[in-house]
């Protein structure tokens, strides 16, 4: 019988950590993820779990110590946000290339500068090419569920890659919502014990980890790593299905919300999917065929699956909560557009930026974008892409009219 509770996102993931009871957690506090090590430290002090908690002097050290613990053979994790993740930069690649299945609880927050403690995805999107698996959540229930699935994915023998479990700073991490928790024994049984085949503290078999790999070996190593990331796709689906059988909550690469017959859709990550779903429901009542694809797994990137899910849409708005500074939109826009170019060229796609540094994103704004998509397709109205939603003053945008893919139809002084 599921346990009904009301918890914040930070409380939810900390509760999941307690239930999984990993071996080692080095951490350094940074808003808005600070509560995670705080709650875990409380659980340990109260004798409710026996994880070794290591207070360290920086995030560079917390990721280094997490790597060390994982290399030694421990199930390890840490938590951070924003500049904390940026300070881990070097180690993120080391964790991935050494194929260490550690977990990172990331609470998404804008990167400095200007200094800002609120939510956007610039921290994790900046780390998208480090070799970490990245899984995002819309709400505290998904954060809890994602963490319980984390080690089953990362420790799988075909994968063995570090995993980042992301949630939106404050919006998810600090807002208290109803949640269904699983019983301890169910969680422990699902996650299982960690018994690595090779680890540094194994006296029976000495080993070396992280050796120098010159030009003759580096590309082969990267291909092996990339293959592990490719393998993670099936493992994520299998684990999501098994989790669904246990909990009644199914998980795949993404959620398709009223997308099946939708003419106009959003592609969006995180808590703003909830806001956009309200807009979808409202417009559906008015008879508009609108839907939404909420991306859960960003690494590995499910390109074919996304293209397939969007292939019957007439126009799509790809919503980025981070700036890519390619002057033409964000990272989600780049990758989804690449997937559509490869596998579903008929779908018109626009890239919009919203919610940077915690800027509110409203149901009304979402509704307006859906209506603009319809206006572009059905009435031949122009659509301004690359623009910032909710910005005061005019955005740097490019206006597109007519058919997709025709440079003659672009109207901008700053193409």
């Amino acid at each position: 019988m599921a346990i009904r509770e009301r918890l914040s996102g930070n409380e939810a993931i900390s509760f999941a950590i307690k239930q999984v009871n990993p071996d080692v957690m080095p951490a350094f506090p940074i808003t808005p993820s600070t509560e995670i090590p705080q709650y875990v430290a409380n659980y340990i002090a109260n004798g409710e779990m026996d994880t070794d908690f290591i207070p360290v002097e920086s995030e560079h050290s917390s990721m280094s110590a997490t790597i060390g613990a994982s290399a030694a053979g421990a199930r390890a994790l840490t938590a951070t946000s924003s500049c904390g993740l940026a300070l881990m930069w070097e180690e993120l690649y080391v964790a991935a290339s050494n194929r260490l299945p550690l977990a990172l609880c990331l609470v998404n927050r804008a990167l400095s500068g200007p200094i800002n403690i609120n939510c956007d995805h610039s921290d994790s999107m900046g780390a998208r090419d480090t070799g970490f698996i990245q899984i995002y959540a819309e709400n505290n229930q998904e954060v809890y569920d994602n963490f319980i699935q984390a080690y089953r994915i990362s420790e799988h023998k075909d994968v063995r890659l570090p995993i980042m479990i992301c949630q939106d700073g404050f919006i998810t991490s600090h807002a208290v919502e109803n949640i269904e928790l699983l019983e301890d024994d169910k969680v422990k049984n699902f996650v299982g014990e960690y018994n690595p085949e090779n680890y540094l503290l194994n006296a029976e078999q000495p080993m070396a980890m992280g050796p120098y790999a010159v030009s003759n070996y580096y590309m082969e190593t990267k291909m092996a790593q990339n293959t592990a990331m490719q393998n993670a796709k099936q493992v994520i689906l299998d684990v999501g299905k098994e989790f669904g059988e246990m909990s009644g909550r199914n998980y795949g690469f993404f959620e398709e919300y009223r997308l099946e017959d939708a003419d106009y859709a959003f592609v969006i990550i995180g808590s703003a999917a909830g806001t956009s779903k309200d807009a979808v429901d409202k417009l559906r009542e008015e008879g508009m065929k609108v839907g939404l694809l909420k991306l859960r797994v960003f690494r590995p990137f499910p390109d074919i699956e996304i293209a397939k899910a969007l292939s019957n849409c007439k126009a799509v708005a790809i919503m980025d909560r981070s700036e890519g500074f390619r002057s033409k939109g964000g990272p989600l826009g780049s990758e989804v557009k690449a997937a559509l170019y490869d596998y579903a060229k008929n779908v018109t796609a626009f890239n919009l930026i919203y919610g940077l540094g915690g800027r509110d994103f409203t149901v009304e704004e979402a509704e307006g974008i859906y209506k603009e998509l319809a206006g572009y397709v059905e009435e031949g109205k122009s659509f301004e892409e690359y623009r910032y939603i909710g910005l005061r003053g005019e955005s740097y945008s490019v206006t597109r009219t007519g058919q997709k893919g025709s440079v003659n139809d672009i109207k901008s002084e700053r193409v």
Binding site: R99, Q205, P206, M207, M209, G210, M219, T221
Partner: protein, 101 residues
């Protein structure tokens, strides 16, 4: 996991044949890696001048001065990188550095 046979991991190995994360199982495998190939200067041992004080042995960063029955032997040129610290530390001019391998 059996010890890694690093002689089988070469510049001709395909990516599938590398170990996960390039991990190397087993100990002492660096013996098979001949760092002596990097040498541009080479120490030469004059056994007639050597008093077997053994000052050169602990300062060698590459453990390339083998000792048998308390007596140092000639250099392990498979691993000596030619740093010259031994020649500097020898009080009896029993080690000289020559150019090249």
């Amino acid at each position: 996991m059996a010890a890694t046979d690093i002689s089988k991991i070469t510049e001709k190995s395909q990516w599938q044949d590398l170990t996960v994360g390039n991990q190397i199982y087993g100990s002492g495998t660096s013996k098979a890696f001949h760092t002596g190939e990097w040498r541009t200067q080479t120490p030469v041992f004059a056994s007639d001048k050597c008093k077997q004080c053994l000052l050169c042995v602990p300062v060698c960063p590459d453990s390339s001065i083998p000792v048998v029955d308390c007596k140092r032997q000639d250099f392990d040129y498979d691993h000596c990188k030619g740093c010259g610290i031994c020649a500097k530390v020898c009080p009896f001019d029993a080690i000289s550095m020559k150019e090249g391998q």
